[in-house]
Amino acid sequence: MAVASGSEVPAQSPPAGPASTSRALGGRALKLVRGFLTLREGSIIVVAIVTTVYFSANATNFATLSNFKTLLPYFAPLAILGAGEVFVMINGEIDLSIGAVYLLSPFVFYKLNQAGIPLVPAVVLSLFVSMAVGAINGFFIAVVGISSFVTTLGMLFTLDGLTLIISHTAPVPTPGTSALHVNSFAQVFGGGTYSELIWALVIVVVLQAVLTFTRWGVYTVAVGGNRLGAAEAGIRVRLVLIRNFVLCATCAGLVGILEAVRAVTATPDPSGSNEILFQGIASAVIGGTLLRGGSGTVVGALIGALFLGVLHDGLIIKGVSANYLDLYLGLAILIAMSVNVYVQRVRTGSGLG
């Protein structure tokens, strides 16, 4: 008996050593994974990576620099639009007029430049016009008390109509650009290959910092999470709302100009701008921002936009016919969001703390 047990103990203990270290390693890895998934954007990051890996493996020429460059103009504008929309959505509101502001702002820029105002000041003034639109939205929502859905829907039609009137439904050449070469103005404002990407990254980083590290961010969450409580604590709820609608409209106005500079012409096409609107909102929602308010991140919107870009681009490279593109895009969004919700549930449920 004694001999048997004596021979058994050393036989068992050597494997126990490596097993426990690997368990400790596994525990640390699990903790890392857990920490990662506690990030609000954690699940969409996973989904975006899986999508990217899938296309890299299954679509030739997907993981190339030139393809990255074709992908950029698709996702960078959405990231900027989504970033602004996130602030409004954390407030528990929605801005449906971003597409219309996007449509109008290059024409305002064109008119101002035609009136003799130099390029850069004209861009700045057009952004002020976008801010004014945001302030009007904010006024109707926060002061008059109309729901943001209705207010910004009204603004959408108003601005679409205004754009058609001032443009006489004809495209115009974007001031400061030429189809032949990209000058330094165009380089900066959307014409350069990486121009929109840089704008998007800078805006996302700055706005995420505003959201996380400033009073503005805390008040935005507070107004979306508990509007009455925020008011009772002394936060000026109306000011917070108006400020965020101004921010959101400014982002949209900027994207409108960047895209017009990149395309060299501005086209008064409301159906195109409506698509931009939905994709901008989709980026924010896919990125984990809740429609009911109180929670969301700007970085999430960037990843949401990247996901949409990868999906769109990957499907095109895989040779999906144009007619099927929207269908697949829609289904893919539904599937990806379901996975997203599932991952989120695992993450907040008992399984992963």
């Binding site: 805390v218 936060i235 109180g294």
Partner: protein, 264 residues
């Protein structure tokens, strides 16, 4: 110190306050009693600048006091624990503690989270409430813990008039006792005055110097705690209940009589 004269307030057809007169002395703890819906919270919200009275004046240190906002009242030394706590579920414990009083760095006004976390820990320790993690959203805390945060937030501020709307409603016996102890301590220091809405008479007799009873939109009773008793307060409530019942019966009889006349 604080005087309220002839305050009235209606919400459409409902009259919450008819003609309220009361005062709060320096270093005093005043208990405000009254039935549900008698207008206690409304009175608090008027004093703290969240709502505006329809008529009547208030005086602070003898000067007319007309708070333009909650911020304004707070700047004049009046701070509140609301009945609904005014916490934001999605924000962390320390962001809630410093809501609207955030500590920021200079010159770039970024949030000084480390400082807020430290001061929150200290304020909670002072009260004796244990909340293990300060960076979790308050949605994850229990009702009592949430209330403790709301109370700690107001008590640890610079205010010298504290308005507490049912600060013990969700508290266990131990935690409630701790809050009452803190109020007792503030009272002994003599710097702050407290106006507190309570429904539990044991709490009233344990902490208050004086009680006011709000009934039918007016202060129906104003007595030093030593001059009254649980029996007297109960008697008033029972009396009120009896009156309400009789009125209901009378109304019912009248309605039946009217119905009988109509059917004849």
């Amino acid at each position: 110190m604080l005087r309220v004269e002839h305050i009235s307030k209606s919400f459409g057809p409902t009259t919450a306050l008819r003609d309220v007169n009361l005062h709060l002395r320096k270093g005093e703890v005043l208990g405000l009693l009254g039935d549900n819906g008698s207008g206690k919270s409304t009175l608090i919200k008027i004093i703290c600048g969240f709502q505006k009275q329809d008529s009547g004046q208030m005086f602070l240190h003898g000067e007319p006091y007309e708070p333009k906002s909650v911020d304004d009242a707070r700047a004049q030394g009046i701070d509140t624990v609301y009945q609904d706590l005014a916490l934001v579920d999605e924000l962390s414990v320390y962001h809630n503690m410093f809501l609207r009083r955030e500590r920021v760095h200079v010159p770039v006004p970024l949030l000084n989270n480390a400082l807020m976390r430290r001061e929150t820990r200290k304020a909670l320790d002072d009260i004796g409430i244990n909340i293990p993690r300060l960076d979790v959203p308050v949605a994850r805390l229990s009702g009592g813990q949430r209330q403790a945060i709301a109370v700690a937030r107001t008590v640890s501020g610079e205010a010298n008039i504290l308005l507490l709307d049912e600060p013990l409603a969700a508290m266990g016996a131990k935690e409630g006792g701790m809050i009452l102890e803190v109020i007792q301590r503030l009272k002994e220091e003599g710097e702050v005055s407290v106006m507190m809405i309570l429904h539990n008479y044991a709490h009233v007799f344990a902490t208050c110097d004086r009680v006011n009873l709000l009934q039918d939109g007016v202060i129906a009773l104003d007595k030093q705690i030593t001059e009254t008793s649980v029996e007297e307060l109960n008697e008033i409530v029972v009396e009120e209940y009896r009156r309400a019942r009789q009125a209901a019966i009378a109304e019912d009889t009248a309605a039946r009589a009217a119905a009988a006349t109509a059917s004849q």
